[in-house]
Symmetry: C2
Subunit: 345 residues, 2 copies
């Protein structure tokens, strides 16, 4: 385990407050080594100045001009300029929702951004003059949870981000594992069901179609349409319209004790846990961290996942067993991880 | 890439003949660093003296006394004594079909051997006085194919052994990846079909139930029972009895042009290729090597696997693509890999 990780463990869980970090740093210490992490999403781009303990000491955000490759780069440039005004930064890490090549420089393909074979590293370096690393956003988030978050105490972990889709990142033997071509960790596209639901990737039955916010919404709406009386709680939250039910409504109704909403989260949790059993058969990690918007349901999601995992794990009873934990760093994991990867380049 | 691997690539593919190695070594060179590799299977135990180029220079075998933990160890001791008579060996690597702990010393569980929490390393070291490493047999074979065989030119590979069951081993970023607890690489137990065929591991729908020699035999017998006229070729090979059809008969009939037998291998190949697409989504290796008895069907199995893989790969067209190759080292991979891991300990 690195000294940095040890320090993170000995201190309190990683936070993001300027004050705390500033208050605990004794006067006279050398200034922290700062880097900028950028998280480019389909709708917004967030960036932050991050110190070597994984704390964000300043942040900023913009809408993502998703349809124009050059405008996305200009927006990243603006964010960097804004952030480096008051801080000396050494490097930039950019996390993007897409396939990044093995050299961590080119975005091969991004489903929700206009990038195709985009030489992002070179463009950002030219624009800012700072050394840049490009990483898949879920990989960056996995690195953050490994380094400063929910998996800081192990060497082998998988992050699952249960949001609109199901993303993932692998840290194996203490290193971010990216695959031979840079596009590993796309766990949401392991096939859970032959001839199952059609997926945006062109296949049928991808895990993402069963264990994601989109799956939750699909099932909740279908339920509300077919059984309005039983779905009264959900329908009330959605103004009476099944097609307006959204994931957070299910979580809220479940937290308030609505039985059918709890069952919807249980079904999702079961798919999640069963897929984790497949990942355990192949990779045998020590910890699986569950993040993303849907993870805000907490144990209403994770307890069913743990139960299904325990039932589905191969050779159970004859092997040590991984832990399923909730992510700690929330939305900021992508920024923190990208910044830390830039620091280590 | 290691010097050893470079040497293996520059020379001819690894062979196992005493004469070739002895003949090409110039006189006066220091004697090769030799280790013993042992492959403990459910029915027989094979061992060999292996040099640093992965060549077996002497070998021996015994029946495995599978029901007695102490007798298996005694048999390994006998083999080692027999082999070290004429060769100075430095260490022993033992590959066994079972779960081996993270320290590579204890067999946690072996489905077909009487070992439960067996401290194999300590026992063998006590018996022989030689430093010993214990490894899962498929992991050892994967290391051999990576180091000296079909994947000698890449850094990220997965071995699949399609035999009675479906085993596997992972080499990631140039290292054997064993998981946090030592029991990773059990790819045969990723779930291919929810509520599918019952598996010996206690679950339903494991990939092994669809892509293995046992699956081939099950399907071939079922076909012969339900459609005897169409299965005439197979039934002839099996003396007219569906329940005597075995995997090699299917391969032979397919090689001879029997249509239904080719279709049986195609079905198996399709399951194989679709599962490889799942592994590619998660791990993105450069090469998947297919070994084990069923791989003797060669392209009759691998071409359908390649086709199914190409159809099922997520985001195809937007990413570099792995190669599916046939294993090169055959039955000896386990011995060669275990011996090489012992050398590197």
């Amino acid at each position: 385990m690195s000294d940095m990780r040890r320090a993170a463990q000995e201190g309190s869980p990683a936070g993001t407050s300027v004050e705390r970090e500033a208050a605990t740093r004794p006067p006279g210490d050398p200034p922290p080594r700062l880097t900028i992490g950028v998280d480019v999403g389909g709708t917004k781009t967030a960036a932050g100045v991050v110190d070597e303990h994984g704390a964000i000491i300043r942040d900023a955000r913009r809408e993502t001009p998703a349809t124009s490759p050059s405008e996305i780069i200009a927006a990243i440039g603006d964010l960097v300029e804004e952030l480096r005004g008051d801080h000396e930064v050494e490097a930039i890490g950019v996390g993007a929702a897409g396939f990044v090549d093995a050299k961590r420089s080119t975005v091969l393909f991004a489903p929700n951004l206009a990038w195709r074979e985009e030489p992002l590293r070179a463009e950002i370096e030219k624009l800012t003059g700072l050394s840049t690393v490009v990483e898949n956003d879920a990989n960056a988030a996995a690195w953050a949870e490994f380094q400063f978050g929910a998996a800081h105490d192990v060497d082998d972990m998988i992050l699952l981000t249960v949001g609109t889709g199901l993303g993932g990142g692998l840290v194996l033997a203490g290193e971010l594992y990216r695959g031979a071509f840079g596009v590993g960790g796309e766990v949401g596209h392991l096939r859970a069901v032959p001839n199952g639901h059609l997926c945006g990737c062109g296949n049928k039955g991808c895990w993402e179609q069963y264990a994601s916010g989109s799956a939750l919404v699909r099932e909740a709406r279908e339920f509300a349409r077919s059984s309005p009386p039983q779905a009264s709680c959900l329908l009330e939250l959605a103004g009476g319209r099944a097609d307006r039910i959204e994931g957070p409504m299910v979580t809220k109704a479940a937290a308030d004790g609505d039985g059918p909403s709890r069952e919807l989260l249980e079904d999702l949790g079961r798919w999640l846990g069963e897929g984790i059993a497949t990942l355990a058969a192949v990779l045998d990690p020590a910890v699986v961290v569950v993040g993303g918007g849907v993870s805000e349901a907490g144990d209403l999601l994770l307890d069913p996942a743990r139960k299904a995992f325990a039932r589905q794990l191969t050779a159970r009873g004859h092997r040590p067993v991984l832990e399923i934990r909730r992510a700690m760093l929330g939305n900021e994991a992508g920024i923190i991880g990208a910044a830390d990867l830039a620091r280590r380049r």
